[in-house]
Symmetry: C2
Subunit: 356 residues, 2 copies
């Protein structure tokens, strides 16, 4: 394993002393960057971009050329696993992801294969290897996957949803079928993340984007349970190096205590959750990642700086905080505003860390 020139991100996740608070940004490789839009156009389609390791590597590295991010994140889509299972992922302009063959019946679930990541998802592993090579140890690379519940929402709905009535219908009416689906997904996600780690991912993150649409008991049974199962299957020790794990959820701020049971090193917070309150509740068990409102990036740089200072102050003294947004950056943000955020984190965070 190449030793990292900048391992602040890894250390913060493991709550080891750091000189400043590391920062990266969900969807940092994305449409707000003109150079991304250029490569996206060159690729012809979003899927072409995801499945071409050279292009995926290029857009992964783009934000690091502009901003002093402390981590890179693999450019990919959260729906690569269902696609590898044969559901036929496609994208329509303005409507988001869709599947040609959504799941509807117990027989559909029964037939689902568990993909071999080095076969059906080799383009992702090739991208991880290529990115690691190109990063040349500058900053760590984060691998990721959607959570079983979040993947299941798209697979059963056939795409995005507002009400989630099909997937919840399956959950309410045929809980055993839903569990069979989630179990296959948990196995697939664990194997996918382990393959990413083997290919070079130095931290992994599970995106449970839609956990927050569930009731408290359904969240525990149909979402968190599988996040925990995945965690127990991850190979997080590579050549003596620990691979930190992050569990991100949206709308789950009520459930932080329960979430720590899943065994991840860090919890990703949405912007609604107060990070001071979160640290008081679970900060002795896990590191915290987040959590500026992505919409604050529309504001002028001086206001962004103030928002950054507030969040740093709320987290307070010591390691265990990775600065991020509370959700992905929006496509029409001015890149200069991102620079204001990153620079503010680096300028004002050393005061919260003892000299190391």
């Amino acid at each position: 394993m190449t030793s990292l020139k900048n391992d602040t991100f890894i250390k913060a996740l493991l709550k080891q002393p750091v000189a400043y608070t590391p920062v990266w940004m969900m969807r940092q490789a994305g449409r707000y960057l003109p150079e991304y839009r250029q490569v996206r156009e060159q690729a012809g389609s979003f899927l072409n971009l995801c499945t071409n390791p050279e292009l995926a590597c290029e857009v992964t590295l783009q934000p690091l050329r502009r901003f002093d991010f402390d981590a890179a994140i693999l450019f990919s889509d959260i729906l690569t696993i269902p696609d590898a299972m044969g559901l036929g992922l496609y994208f329509t302009e303005g409507e988001g992801p869709k599947f040609h063959h959504p799941l509807r019946t117990a027989a559909d679930v029964e037939k689902l294969p568990i993909p071999d990541p080095e076969l059906e998802l080799s383009y992702v592993m090739d991208a991880v290897r290529l990115i690691r090579k190109n990063l040349a140890g500058s900053v760590p690379l984060i691998g990721f996957s959607g959570s079983p519940w979040t993947l299941a929402t798209y697979m059963v709905e056939g795409g995005s949803s507002k009400s989630f009535h099909r997937v919840k219908g399956l959950m309410y009416e045929q809980p055993k079928v839903m569990h069979a689906l989630l179990d296959k997904l948990a196995q697939s996600v664990a194997s996918y993340l382990n393959a990413q780690i083997a290919a070079g991912a130095q931290a992994v993150m599970l995106f449970d984007t839609w956990g927050g649409v569930l009731s408290t008991e359904d969240y525990a049974e149909f979402s968190l349970y599988y996040a925990k199962q995945i965690r127990s299957l991850l190979n997080t020790n590579v050549d003596g190096q620990q691979i930190p794990t992050i569990l991100f959820s949206k709308g789950c701020g009520q459930w932080l205590e329960a979430m720590t049971d899943a065994g991840y090193d860090a919890l990703g917070l949405d912007w609604q959750t107060d990070i001071a309150n979160a640290r008081a509740r679970v900060g002795h068990q896990v590191a915290l990642q987040g959590n500026m409102d992505p919409i604050a990036l529309y504001a002028q740089p001086d206001i962004i700086t103030e928002k950054v200072k507030t969040i740093l102050h709320k987290y307070g003294q010591g390691s265990g905080h990775v600065f991020n947004l509370g959700h992905g950056i929006l496509p029409d943000i001015n890149p200069e505003h991102v620079k204001a955020m990153v620079d503010a984190v680096h300028q004002y965070s050393p005061a919260y860390h003892a000299q190391v």
Copy 2:
């Protein structure tokens, strides 16, 4: 004031002993009922339906003819106030409410009038009076309004939003202008709800549908503060009868303790919040309304019955619970499923109340 034949709803909100748990349903007068769709068609448009007291009265009463609901709720739209302020409310098929003249500048806010409810919103007051007359004391009538923050989101965005970037932009960049707008809205809402009470509303509910898109501190400053201001301006004593007040929010389960400070008799819970946990946290201060997942109504009646029993069991013994969904019913629900819910509440809840 006509004495009520069924005052279970009022008593439960005031935590007085009741024989069973009362139940009503957000959006109970709505598209899931064929008789509603017929009147809606007759009215020609949704706005015509809202502004015609006879038709509004008719659709308010429709669900009570089918189901043993323990309360009626005024049929109206949450955006009547901004419309009365001159923003020009209209509806487009499938896209929800829009305004011809959204707010964009400090000057726009400056110019906003505070409507006189008995003048510009007389159609609402006429509907309240007519419904009260037709209810003839059978069950209480709930009046309502959108919260200042929730109204502001539509007024600044010009309609529905996913990211709320315009209204948050105003909040982040020009907090004083946002406060001026929210202050005018709070005065307008208080005066509107007081007029509904004077016209005959026997309980009032404030819908803070979009409070949950804010950060913890922004929620306190830009949403909850004005809910509290409104509460302090309400005339909740009519001829010696107390008018109970309900504050409903979505995505605010983290903030229940703070919400009790606003002084409402009850908090409406979304379905993500665990009602047992909510009662443990704030049940000594307020009654709780909710909170079945609206999507559970797609399930078969026996499953709905189980969900009802779970929520009754979670709330547990004693008064202070009004059964409801955690958000409005969806338009394609089978009315028979609503009957299953209502009947289950009435069948299984007496066990949780001492004989009175």
